[in-house]
């Protein structure tokens, strides 16, 4: 093992900042990061063992215990349950003979609950050894497990229904793209590199000002003006500047970047090259969420193709002195790494804990150099803006929200998938577009966004009204909103909190327990009021977007669906104890061998 790991380390120049890559490689080989490996890494990188372990233990897909030769990560998000996740999970447990979050005794198969994997339009979905299996049902599960037991390789088990075929063969996965366009923006088929060449005739300053002029705002959710971010970065100066493409969409219910990466990688890379030129950056890095690892080889191939065409590399497109290349950095399973500074920490081989600001990444980001982090969709927008001009872009959408938006729409509707719409579309129009009737609620922007009721369906999708990164979960009237959505979304934030800020780490647990108490029928009116007040505390107290929005499922559901809470609580009492004598004495009575005598006590 020592030699193997020494070789691995050599491959990464013994660079501590590449720790995630090193650990992922080790995990791949051993189906875990063995204790011995931790010791070797610690010695070689001059770290303490606990220091290496604090990185490992931060990521869902890095483990210090075996995950099984066939590791089955089944999406556990509320959206999956809408499509039959419970039955699929049961089928897995029955076929494999173990319960979730454990491994068979022979170490062959492991079953793992996993936060949203970006397949909400084709759930229930699972990742098995990196390959995605979608639209699972008990019959498919039976077949998959049967073939695993027969010793078949995972790539041979996957039925290929992928939409993309690339040079080295088919993209072996069961993922479909479900694209529904409605598009005023040229979507593909332009000549790759033509816009880049157009851009290179401009000065970097001219590009920045064109992007500023276009009113392009970040598509990840926060909506920061892209041109302004670029300008700040340029102002920071310095000889080394990084451009990072955030491909870590982890918000439950979002999957549009998966589709962009599959359908439009060249447009993305071209947009990155233009951004690189505008920022004087020589290195672009795509932080690709581990759930999309199945796209890695494909994306590498596309990158190579573009290098071969001199659209990446040295003296790009004949422009002397413009060198820019892109590498792909894999994540390892963490929602908070979608936050730009958490992402940067992760890229440096550390726990993905968001940083304190100031300084902002544009001043001091990756390796403490000025860094721009832009979302996949945002960088794609750069290409048509340069091609057609800022005025054209502004002519689409609304006053404050220029252009179009990719929406990931899932839940109770006829046609879940990725939709490109003009900013300004109302929720009502959107529901009609996807064939959704009998709707109880729409979770706009996923769990961290807002949960709206039908009286608000006239509101429009735009930064000035309902801002969103694009996750739209449609929840029908028959669903139990609090129990099946608000509670698991709150649990999601508990699990995904980096834990650094006290209120995010611990208050969210307190909120979850209070919510559970209400759902269990042990709540009173005052519990609703307290839950709301407590939930609001985190909004200002926490450092990053995750912490500030972790209570949003609770806050927005109390604001818009108060009746659901009222129905659950006892209104005629001001105090209710959740204490249950029978449960409380059960263990002690069993230990001493007596029959609990509840009535006399």
């Amino acid at each position: 093992m020592k030699d193997k790991i020494a070789n691995l380390l050599k491959q990464y120049d013994n660079d501590r900042s590449r720790l995630i890559d090193i650990l992922l490689d080790i995990q791949e080989i051993y189906h875990q990061v063995p204790d011995e490996a931790v010791g070797i890494l610690a010695d070689q990188l001059d770290l303490s063992k606990v220091d290496v372990e604090q990185t490992i233990s931060f990521y869902h897909f890095l483990t210090q215990t075996p995950i099984g030769e066939y590791a089955i990560y089944l999406n556990d998000s509320p959206g999956a349950y809408m499509y039959g996740r419970a039955e699929v999970a049961k089928a897995f447990e029955e076929e494999v003979g173990i319960s979730f979050n454990s491994v068979t005794q022979d170490g062959l198969i492991g079953l793992w609950d996993t936060a949203d994997i970006g397949m909400n339009d084709q759930d229930p979905a699972a990742i098995i050894n990196g390959i995605v299996f979608t639209e699972l049902d008990p019959a498919k599960v039976k077949k998959i497990i049967g073939e695993i037991k027969d010793g078949k390789k995972v790539e041979d088990i996957a039925e290929n229904v992928a939409d993309v075929i690339y040079t080295k063969g088919i993209l072996r996965t069961m993922v479909k793209n479900h694209i529904h366009l409605n598009n005023p923006i040229p979507y593909d088929d332009q000549e790759v590199g033509s816009v880049l060449k157009q851009a290179l005739d401009l000065t970097p300053e001219q590009i920045v000002s064109e992007i500023k002029e276009s009113n392009l705002r970040g598509r990840g959710g926060a909506g920061f003006p892209t041109g302004l971010k670029w300008e700040f970065c340029r102002k920071s100066g310095g000889d080394e500047v990084y451009l990072i493409c955030n491909a870590d969409e982890g918000e439950p219910g979002t999957f549009k970047e998966r589709v962009i990466l599959t359908e439009l990688p060249k447009m993305l890379f071209e947009g990155m090259a233009i951004a690189g030129y505008a920022l004087d950056a020589r290195q672009g890095i795509i932080y690709l969420r581990y759930e999309y690892r199945y796209l890695l080889a494909y994306l590498e191939d596309v990158l190579q193709e573009m290098r071969d065409q001199n659209l990446l590399g040295k003296n790009i497109a004949g422009k002397t002195g413009f060198d820019f290349d892109i590498r792909i950095q894999l994540g390892a399973g963490s929602y908070v790494c979608g936050e730009e500074s958490g992402l940067i920490e992760s890229m440096e081989g550390k726990r993905g804990e968001p940083r304190n600001r100031p300084p902002f990444p544009v001043e001091s980001g990756y390796l403490n150099k000025p860094t721009v982090v832009n979302n996949v969709e945002t960088l794609c927008r750069v290409v048509p803006i340069i091609q057609n001009g800022a005025d054209w872009f502004k002519s689409i959408g609304t006053k404050e929200s220029a252009g179009t938006k990719f929406l990931s729409i899932s839940g109770d509707c006829n046609a879940p998938g990725v939709y490109q719409v003009e900013w300004g579309m109302t929720i009502k129009e959107m529901l009609k577009m996807v064939g959704a009737t009998d709707v109880q609620a729409v979770k706009v922007g996923g769990p961290s966004g807002t949960c709206i009721d039908p009286t608000q369906f006239g509101r429009s999708i735009a930064f000035e009204d309902l801002a969103t990164g694009g996750s739209m979960i449609i929840i029908g009237n028959k669903r139990d909103l609090l129990k099946d959505f608000i509670l698991p979304f709150t649990n999601f934030f508990i699990e995904e909190s980096c834990g650094s800020c006290a209120p995010c780490r611990s208050l969210t647990v307190i909120l979850r327990d209070k919510l559970t108490r209400i759902i269990d029928g042990n709540g009173t009116q005052s519990d609703i009021a307290e839950l709301y007040d407590w939930a609001r505390l985190g909004q200002t107290a926490n450092r990053c977007g995750l912490g500030q929005t972790a209570a949003n499922p609770i806050i927005t559901s109390i604001e818009n669906f108060r009746n659901l809470y009222e129905d659950l609580v006892k209104t005629d009492e001001d105090y209710l104890s959740a204490f249950n004598m029978e449960q409380a004495v059960a263990e002690s009575c069993e230990v001493v061998g007596r029959v609990p005598n509840i009535k006399s006590h």
Partner: protein, 234 residues
């Protein structure tokens, strides 16, 4: 003589002066203003993790330990909204650990307890969780009680042996995160180093073994005067 300092700023209307690059919390202290914190260690890179030093800077919530003073900055500190928030965070920390003050050697010298006294917490508004995070007594000189840990990262940022971290986070999230001690390195710590580790811990999570209760009740750090009095009465 303060006037020679470079930057002018205000805390709750009081004129203050700061060095360039000085954090709001340190500059406040130098100007006789106490901003409470549980994770801050002067001279060590700020963690901004306890969130207790939340202040309003030009109207926006920021942590005083991570924000450098800029000229003309207007800081709000001792206002009901912030004190309410701080008390809530302190209460959160109380219920999410096992803080049995009467049986803790750090009682009377504990900063979490002292802040609760300062804000006159009689009972946390939140239910106690009684978490089980374990204790680690493997080191010769240190007793590490994770149930008392408030995860301020002070030890993670300061306690090293041969340049390596003795303490580190493990896990993530509200239910699995805890601080662990490196067995090998912790066993190499000298008694003096163990004493320093204990002193850096704001609560009773890191204790030096075979020490117990050194100072009688009534004479401990926070028995008579609230935490921060030394700064305010300067």
């Amino acid at each position: 003589m303060n006037k020679n300092k470079k930057l002018y700023f205000e805390i709750d209307g009081k004129a203050c002066y700061a060095e360039d690059g000085q954090s709001v919390i340190d500059a406040a202290k130098a100007n006789g203003v106490f901003i409470p914190s549980l994770c801050h260690v002067e001279g060590v890179k700020a963690a901004g993790s306890c969130r207790v030093c939340n202040v309003k800077i030009n109207g926006r919530n920021m942590t005083a330990c991570t924000t450098p003073v800029t000229d003309g900055m207007v800081v709000e500190n001792d206002i009901p909204e912030l004190n309410e928030l701080r008390q809530a965070i302190i209460e959160v920390l109380f219920v999410s650990g096992n803080h049995f003050c009467p049986s803790c050697e750090k009682s009377g010298n504990c900063e979490l307890q002292a802040l609760a006294y300062r804000y006159q917490m009689l009972v946390p508004r939140f239910p106690y969780e009684f978490p089980i995070k374990g204790v680690d007594a493997s080191s010769e000189h240190i007793f590490h009680d994770r149930n008392r840990c408030i995860m301020c990262k002070r030890c993670i940022r300061t306690v090293t042996k041969d340049g390596k971290n003795v303490f580190a986070f493990n896990g993530r999230g509200g239910e699995h995160l805890h601080v662990v001690m490196d067995e090998k390195l912790a066993s190499q710590l000298t008694e003096e180093e163990a004493q320093e580790a204990m002193e850096i811990c704001p609560v009773g999570a890191i204790l030096k073994k075979e020490q117990g209760y050194l100072v009688p009740i009534g004479e401990r750090k926070f028995d008579k005067l609230p935490i921060g009095s030394d700064i305010e009465n300067k």
